[in-house]
Symmetry: none
Subunit: 209 residues, 4 copies
Amino acid sequence: MNESFTIERSAVTESTAGRRRGDDLERAIFEAALEELAEVGYANLRMEAIAARAKAGKASLYKRWPDRAHLIRAAARYMATAVDTKFEPSGDVRADMRHVMLRIGENQAGPAGEAMRGWVGELRATSDAEEAEKIREAIEQPRIRVFAKILESGIANGTVRPEALHPRIVNLAPSMMTQHFLMKGRPASAAVIDEMLDHIVMPLVSAGR
Amino acid sequence: MNESFTIERSAVTESTAGRRRGDDLERAIFEAALEELAEVGYANLRMEAIAARAKAGKASLYKRWPDRAHLIRAAARYMATAVDTKFEPSGDVRADMRHVMLRIGENQAGPAGEAMRGWVGELRATSDAEEAEKIREAIEQPRIRVFAKILESGIANGTVRPEALHPRIVNLAPSMMTQHFLMKGRPASAAVIDEMLDHIVMPLVSAGR
Amino acid sequence: MNESFTIERSAVTESTAGRRRGDDLERAIFEAALEELAEVGYANLRMEAIAARAKAGKASLYKRWPDRAHLIRAAARYMATAVDTKFEPSGDVRADMRHVMLRIGENQAGPAGEAMRGWVGELRATSDAEEAEKIREAIEQPRIRVFAKILESGIANGTVRPEALHPRIVNLAPSMMTQHFLMKGRPASAAVIDEMLDHIVMPLVSAGR
Amino acid sequence: MNESFTIERSAVTESTAGRRRGDDLERAIFEAALEELAEVGYANLRMEAIAARAKAGKASLYKRWPDRAHLIRAAARYMATAVDTKFEPSGDVRADMRHVMLRIGENQAGPAGEAMRGWVGELRATSDAEEAEKIREAIEQPRIRVFAKILESGIANGTVRPEALHPRIVNLAPSMMTQHFLMKGRPASAAVIDEMLDHIVMPLVSAGR
DNA sequence: TAATAATCGAGACGGTACGTCGTGTCTTGTC
DNA sequence: GACAAGACACGACGTACCGTCTCGATTATTA
C-alpha cells in the first residue's frame, strides 16, 4: 500500500523536533488519518484514534475541520497531490489505458479507496450538492485529462476515432473502475481490466471497424 | 416515495389486532426502517428511531439482526420482493432499456438507494466477502436477467449483434446507473440516460455497423 | 440452610406428576423464591430466575402477586408457618432467652433474613404505612409472645421483676438481633448474644438488685 | 431537609462560571444524588435521574463510582462531614441523650436515612465484608464518641455508674434509633425516644440504685 | 366419555434503565 | 498564543429485566 509517501514525509516531520504547529501539524494529522483509514476503514474510523496516532489533541483536529467527513476529504486531497502525477502516452492506446487503470486499482486498495467509500456512504441528494460536485470533479478531472490525452494520442496515430473524445466515453474506464471497487469491495484485477478493455472500451473507441 | 407497498401491507398487518408477533412485527420494522432510511439517510440512521417508529422495543430489533447493517440488508431484500417484478420486452431495444433504466433511477431515489449507499459505505476487502458477494448478486442478478431478455429480443429481430450477450456488456447499463447514483448522490436523469444509451450502450450492442 | 422444609415439601409436590396447579404450584414458587433468595440475595433476585427454577411461567407469578416485593412477603409468611413453632420456657430466663436468640440468628442466616433485608430496603415513610405495619407486627408479634412468656415464667419464680413486661423491654432482645443482622450483614454470634444478655437484657429484667 | 449545606455549597460552585470539573462537579453530583434520594428513595433511584439533575453526563458518574451503591456511599460520607459536628455535654445526661437522639432522627428523615436504607438492602454476608465494616464504623463511630462523652460527663458528676461505658451500652441508644427507623420506615418520635430513655437506657446507666 | 373451559409453560413483546463508547466542546497547563 | 492532554455534556449503543400478552398443551369440569 502507499507506504512511500508516509516514509518520505515523516522524514521531514521528524526533522523538526519539539511541538509541531501549522502545516507541520496538519501533515502529521493527514498521515495519521490515512493510516487509520487504511487499517480500520471509514466506517470504523474514530477521531480519537486519529488524534492519538498523530500525537495531537482532538481540539487541533476540530479547529481545522468541522467533522470526520471534512477531515477525510482534506486528507484525500492532500494525498492526491502526491499521487496523481503526470503520465505520458506511448501511442499504444490499449496498453496505456491498461497501465493507468492498474494504477487506479492500486490507489483504490490504499487509504484513498477507503476515503472514497466513506465519502460515498455519507453522500445524499439533500446534502450540500455544491461541495459534493466540487469534490467529485476533483477526483474525476485529473483522470479524465489522462484518458483524454491517451485518446488524443490514439487519434493522432489513427487508431482511435475522433468521436471517442466525448466526455461520457472518456470517463467510461475510470467509472467502471470506481463502480467495481465500490460494489465488490476491492479493485478490479488485471484480468477484469482486460475484459473491460476488450469488450467495452476498445470496441467503442477504435477507429476503422 | 414508495408509499404504495406500505399501504398495501399495513392493510394486512392491521387486520390482526393486538400485539404484533413474528412476521407481522418483522414487516412493521422493515417499513419503519425503510421510511427512516428515506428520511434521514443511512449515515444518520438510528436503531432507536426505527424501533420508535415501528412502536417496537429495541430488543425486538436486535433479536432478529445483529446490527444496523444486517437489518437494512434484510429490509432491502424485503422491499425487493415487491419491486423487482416482471418486464416484457417490446422489441424496441433502446426504448426498453430506457424504460428499465428510468425505473432503476426511481428505485434509487427511494429507500433502496439509501440502503445501497449504506451497504457500500461499510463494505471492505477484509469484511465477510462471501456474504457481500451474495448480496451484490441478489441486487444485480434480476437486473442482468431483464437486460439479457431485452438484448435477446433484439437479437431475435436482428437489431442486436449476438456477441452483445457477454455479461460485461449486459451489466453495463445498470452499472452506469449505480455509478452515477453513488458518485453524484442522485439517480441519472432521463437526459443522462439518453446520453448513456446513445454514446455507450447502443453503439456496443447494435448489429450491422 | 433451611433445607429441611424444602425436601419435605418437594416430596409432596413430586408425588403429583404432570402439570401443577393451584396450591401445589404456589408452594413450588415459594420454595423456588426462597432458594433464590438464599443464593443471590434480595438485591439480585430476578422474577425470571424464580419462574425458571420453579419451572413455571412468569404469568403464573404475576397472576398471584403484583410484584417482587409482594411475592417475597408471601413467601416469608409461608415459611414462617413452618418455623415459628411453640417454645416452652424452662424457668431459667437467661438460658431460655439465649436459646431463642440463637434460633432467631439461625433463621436470619437463611432466606428469611434476606426477605427481611429486601423488605427493609424498599420500606419508606411514604409507602403504604398500613401494610408495612401489618407485616412488621406479623414478624414481631410471635417473638414478643415468646419473650413475654419467658419473662412471665421468670416473674413467677421471682427471678424477674414485674415491670420488665413493658413492651419496649420485651421487644428489646429481638430488636437487638434484628439491628445486628441488618447492620452487620450476618446474625449475632453466640458470644455477642451473651454480651447482649449480660450487659443489657439481664440487668434490666433481673429482680432484687 | 438538610437544605442548608446545599445552599452553602452551591454558592461556592456557582462562583466558578463555565463547565464544572473535578471537585466542583463531584459536589454537584452528590447534591443531586442526595436530593433524588430524599425524593424517590433508594429503591427508585436512577443514575440517569441523578445525572440529569446534576446537569452531568452519565459517564461522569461512572467514571467516579462503579455503581449506584458506591455513589450513594460517597454521597453519604460527603454529607456526614457537614452534619456530624461537635456536641458539648451539659451534664444533664438524660437531656443530652434526648437531644442527640432527636438530631439523629432528623438526620434519618433526610437523604442520610434513605442512603442507609439502601446500604442495608444491598448488604449480604457474602459481600465485601471489609468495606461494609468500614462504612458501618464510619456511621457508628462518631455517634459512639458523642454518647461516650455524655456518659463520661455523667460519671464525672456522679449520675452515671462507671460500668456504663461498656461499648454495647454506649451504642445502645443509637442502635435503637437505627432499628426503629429501619423497621418502621420513619424515625422514632420524641415520645418513643422518651420511652427508650426511661425504660431502657437510663435504668441501665444510672448510678445509685 | 367427549366436549368445553380454565389454567398452565414457554417465551415473544413494548418498555425502561443500565453501563459503555464516541463526538464535539471546553479547560488546564506546557512549550 | 498555539498546542497536548484529557475532562466534560450529550446521546446512541447493545444488554438485561420488567410486567403484559399470546400461543398451544394440559388438566379439570360439564354434557
